[in-house]
């Protein structure tokens, strides 16, 4: 079966992907199944997120395993597969002397976008991402945030069915981050969108499912609600004084500290109640992140 633009598919399967480098294994027998919707890929540095996304973007080949689109191995028709993906890499490249329009025109040529349609497509994307005023500016004169938006625009040029975003909100200010989230939720109805990020709040409300990845292996994949189950009734909150802080940090997994000036609000993950002042609270994804990766980050 040939992958074709416009043909409706809903299933992307990652089957036993392993990627070995000389001295380490970046991904180890990674399995995953994705349908249309937004997926948050979460994990600490070196967990294998970028490697996985690069394999999905066909930039690197896995040592073992395969990726299937509606049951078809993508390597059988890699060019067709690439015509339905949009990829925003973590380290975003540009031709500094190109204007925004020239850059996007070049990428649309690379993506094989119909020449007659590409001009309108570019103008629409420039409007959508509030880039119209920069369209004739050279990229070297633009801020990192604007460049990041250009990066998002290039990923959308071919109206992709699968969007792969590696740290898309990295250089965006809070307002741009909200705009990005709005854009993504609008796009997600008929696309598979995979977003790798450190900033959990960016995907918390958007994601259909969250995939936690650690040392190249998938720990868990579930909806934002279900994924919190392992830490249900384990997240405690209290207001403490500065003296108790150090002791609690030494003895418990602290997921959040907020200093109000006079006192400190602290969140802790613990199977048992740490102290009489603590009360149970609803877990959030930040707690989950710390639950799985907190000790590793230390």
């Amino acid at each position: 079966m040939k992958i074709q633009r416009g043909v409706y598919f809903l299933e992307l399967k990652i089957e036993g992907i392993t990627k070995n480098y000389k001295n380490n294994t970046a991904l180890d027998n990674f399995y995953c199944q994705l349908n249309s919707g937004i997926y948050g890929l979460v994990g600490p540095n070196g967990a294998g997120k970028t490697t996985l996304l690069r394999i999905l973007a066909t930039i690197i080949k896995p040592t073992k395993g395969r990726i299937l689109i509606d049951g078809e191995d993508i390597t059988l028709n890699e060019e067709d597969y690439r015509s339905i993906i949009g990829y925003l890499p973590q380290k975003l490249g540009f031709y500094r002397d190109y204007t925004v329009t020239r850059f996007l025109t070049y990428i649309s040529n690379l993506k094989g976008v119909d020449k007659n349609l590409s001009k309108d497509k570019i103008n629409n994307l420039l409007r959508l991402l509030n880039l119209s005023e920069y369209k004739d500016k050279k990229i070297k004169t633009l801020s990192e945030g604007i460049k990041q938006r250009i990066g998002i625009a290039q990923a959308l040029l071919n109206n992709p069915r699968i969007l792969i975003f590696d740290e898309p909100t990295l250089n965006l200010d809070p307002k741009e981050r909200i705009n990005f989230k709005n854009l993504i939720s609008r796009l997600s109805s008929d696309k598979i969108i995979i977003i790798s990020t450190h900033i959990i709040s960016d995907i918390e409300c958007l994601s259909k499912e969250i995939i936690l990845i650690k040392k190249g292996e998938k720990i868990i994949q579930d909806t934002p609600m279900e994924i919190l189950k392992p830490i249900e009734n384990k997240v405690w909150e209290a207001t403490i004084d500065e003296k108790s802080l150090l002791e609690l940090q030494n003895n418990y997994l602290v997921t959040d500290i907020k200093n109000n000036g006079t006192d400190i609000r602290i969140r802790i993950i613990s199977d048992t109640k740490p102290d009489v002042d603590f009360y149970l609270t609803n877990p959030v994804l930040d707690d989950l992140y710390m639950y799985y990766f907190g000790k590793e980050n230390d």
């Binding site: 690439r82 380290k91 031709y95 040529n109 690379l110 993506k111 094989g112 290039q154 071919n158």
Partner: protein, 371 residues
Amino acid sequence: MLVLTKCELGKIFQKKIIYMALFLFLILSSINIYNSFQIYDYDLYSIPKDLQKPITENIFENKIKNINEGYIYGELTDSEKKSVNLYTAISDAKNNYDSLIIEKNSILEQLNTITNKSTFNYRNTKLQYEMFNKIPRPYIFNEQGWYEVVNYINQNGMLYVCILIILGISTAITSEYSTYMDSIIKSSKKGKKQFITAKIYASIIYTVIISLIFSAFNSIPYLMSLDNYGYNVPIQNIYDFIHSPYLLTIGQYLVVQFLVHLAGAIIFSLIVLLVSALCRSMLTSIFLSSSIWALPLVIEQYTYVEDKTPGIIDFSLTNIIKAAPLFRTYKTYNILGYPVLYPYLVIGIYIILVPVILYLVYYFFKNKHVQ
């Protein structure tokens, strides 16, 4: 593909350094041409219509005598200079003819001493004799002006074209790595095969353009000033080609030389593109490309002994780009007992190498680890 090729060509021609180098080299070429026209009044070297033909004993006897009678010491008038130049042309043609006869007889003598006809030595000497035997008598001809046209590629032409290839192409793929564009490119539909194909086409087009610019810029002023007669004169009438066994007129040789030079330049540009696909650092790419081009020249400089260059130079790409070293003398290689002419062998080898080079360009770009 056409659109992508235009884009890649645009990237090459966007480099300011190319225009600076092109401008500088055209200025240098202009100075050379200007100096040459200052030194020689090419009109004084033209040969009268009735003598535009191969040398004969008759012409030699009659003309030398007449010219000798009119020879005057001291400041010469233009007419006297013309006579002196004609005398030189006739005299040179006669000397060249005598040398050719001696060379042919020597080869024939050598051939007759070889008894075993199934040896490489016999076949080689026989081929040499057959080739030299076909060479016509030298023409009455002054090489001034034509020498500059014929030798330009061998000297400055090769230098300028190679430098511009290095400046234009050595960073063609490297820059995609260093700007981190490779990720976006490789993830796009045409970002692997067609992208590299477009780079290859763009490199070839660029090389053809610069080769044409330099060859045309240097040749046109001479060709406009020189008598058309020179086109039909055997290449052996140019001093550097006096021992050439190839049956070519200067006009034919100019075409062959340009095509060989162009083929060499294109192959060099593909090798530079390969180096570019291999290197992440632009400086490394420029250094390696320059070394591939300059190393044979350096080796030649330090090992040159009476026209006997080491094998590595014979098979260097620099020799193909120069073109002239391939055609100056009779040189063959023993392939399974049969003599294969040096230019055929060396061009053949590089033609076989082209698919390998192209495959490696695709392979290295595709498999280069992104950062």
